[in-house]
Symmetry: C2
Subunit: 229 residues, 2 copies
């Protein structure tokens, strides 16, 4: 698999629309994390994406773009992750944006660098739920069915449980991981320090730490070591 | 690939909701076609599907269910084709129906028997366009982008250009086939006899003959030989 993504335990997600000092960025990139993902739900532009890429590129850490906006597809990342929001009620986030991007760049894309993520949005109060008009009234059986759909029908290398802003139900996360044989389970949401990181890393294949970077950098950095233990 | 689907040149599509005499069905099944697909847009039920399956099973021809309704998932077909209607505006036809079916049967499904079809609905006046609320105002570039999306992002073994009821633009069909390297291009719509069959078979990988079976059986049967020439 790309970049040995099958061995990633930990990733940081950086938002091009939020400020991060050079010092903080250096600590992130040298933290020992497996990858830095660049992406956000709102305010992501070509300019702020290319700026952030250039700053991350000073370091050796793998750098991935999570494409949320086709205006902001910047060449030069190691990998492009294409979200497919399975519980979106707006088709734009399942095929529309993707279709628009392929219409524009399809002839020149290197498909080997592209990887789909079957997203399941769990927190109705998050920006991403709002933007995608996600149906978040989901039972465990609903979530299981989305995970199977992502793995078997859409053949997504990644299934992404996105609790964005809240810490999820780890029992559910563990159940979903147990269903998957080909796809890798990414977990994101509410990892504000090493304790939550440890717990989430025991339930998912890969944990993603986002907001903590901006709220409490030292706690965020401590999540890397927690996952390695 | 399943059932050597990669060698199919011709298939008949039979609608469980339409009458077909035993004599006509025998001629279809012994025609030399590569497969009989069972499916329809409206009126498909468990009962009429299981009836049709039982009647086709007297013959050796491969028999495939195109799942359009989760109430009508009947075990015992050789293969289950799962349409994903890429230009649907109603998410039910992209992930919703599929999600519902997996929620019900996911734990017992044999995924090796399942195969997705990336559908592109081309005729706005068809029942399938109506049911799926398809956006049919498509340029060639739009269709190309959907085909690439189906092949590379959703990794559909089949891309299905569905002109349902009218004969399509064979230059477009040829262009789409030329884009595909992994997926197979199915063409359906307006094949009312051997001339159209020959033309469509030169443009697509596999042609599907549906309505003609009910409108003019002899003409429909003649499409098999036309494709073999």
């Amino acid at each position: 698999m790309h970049l040995r993504m099958d061995q990633w335990k930990h990733a940081f997600k950086l938002d091009p629309d939020r400020d991060l000092s050079d010092d903080a960025l250096e600590k992130i990139c040298l933290s020992g994390t497996d990858a830095v993902m660049v992406g956000g739900s709102t305010g992501v532009t070509f300019d702020n994406t290319v700026d952030l890429l250039a700053r991350i590129r000073r370091y050796e850490v793998p750098c991935v773009l999570e494409v949320s906006n086709r205006e902001a597809i910047v060449p030069g990342f190691d990998l492009f992750m294409i979200p497919i929001v399975l519980n979106a009620k707006n088709t734009d986030w399942i095929v529309g944006q993707q279709h628009g991007a392929i219409k524009e760049y399809g002839a020149i894309l290197d498909w080997k660098q592209m990887m789909t993520e079957g997203y399941i949005i769990m927190n109705g109060n998050s920006a991403v739920a709002n933007v995608t008009e996600a149906d978040v009234k989901l039972s465990l059986k609903d979530v299981e069915a989305y995970a199977r759909l992502a793995e078997h029908l859409f053949r997504c290398p990644v299934v992404y449980l996105e609790y964005s802003g809240i810490f999820g139900d780890m029992e559910w996360v563990r159940r979903i991981r147990g269903l998957l044989s080909e796809s890798r389970l990414f977990y994101g949401g509410g990892i504000d320090g090493p304790d939550k990181a440890r717990e989430a890393a025991q339930a998912a294949h890969t944990i993603v730490v986002g907001n903590a970077v901006y709220n409490d950098l030292e706690q965020a950095l401590a999540t890397v070591k927690a996952v390695r233990e």
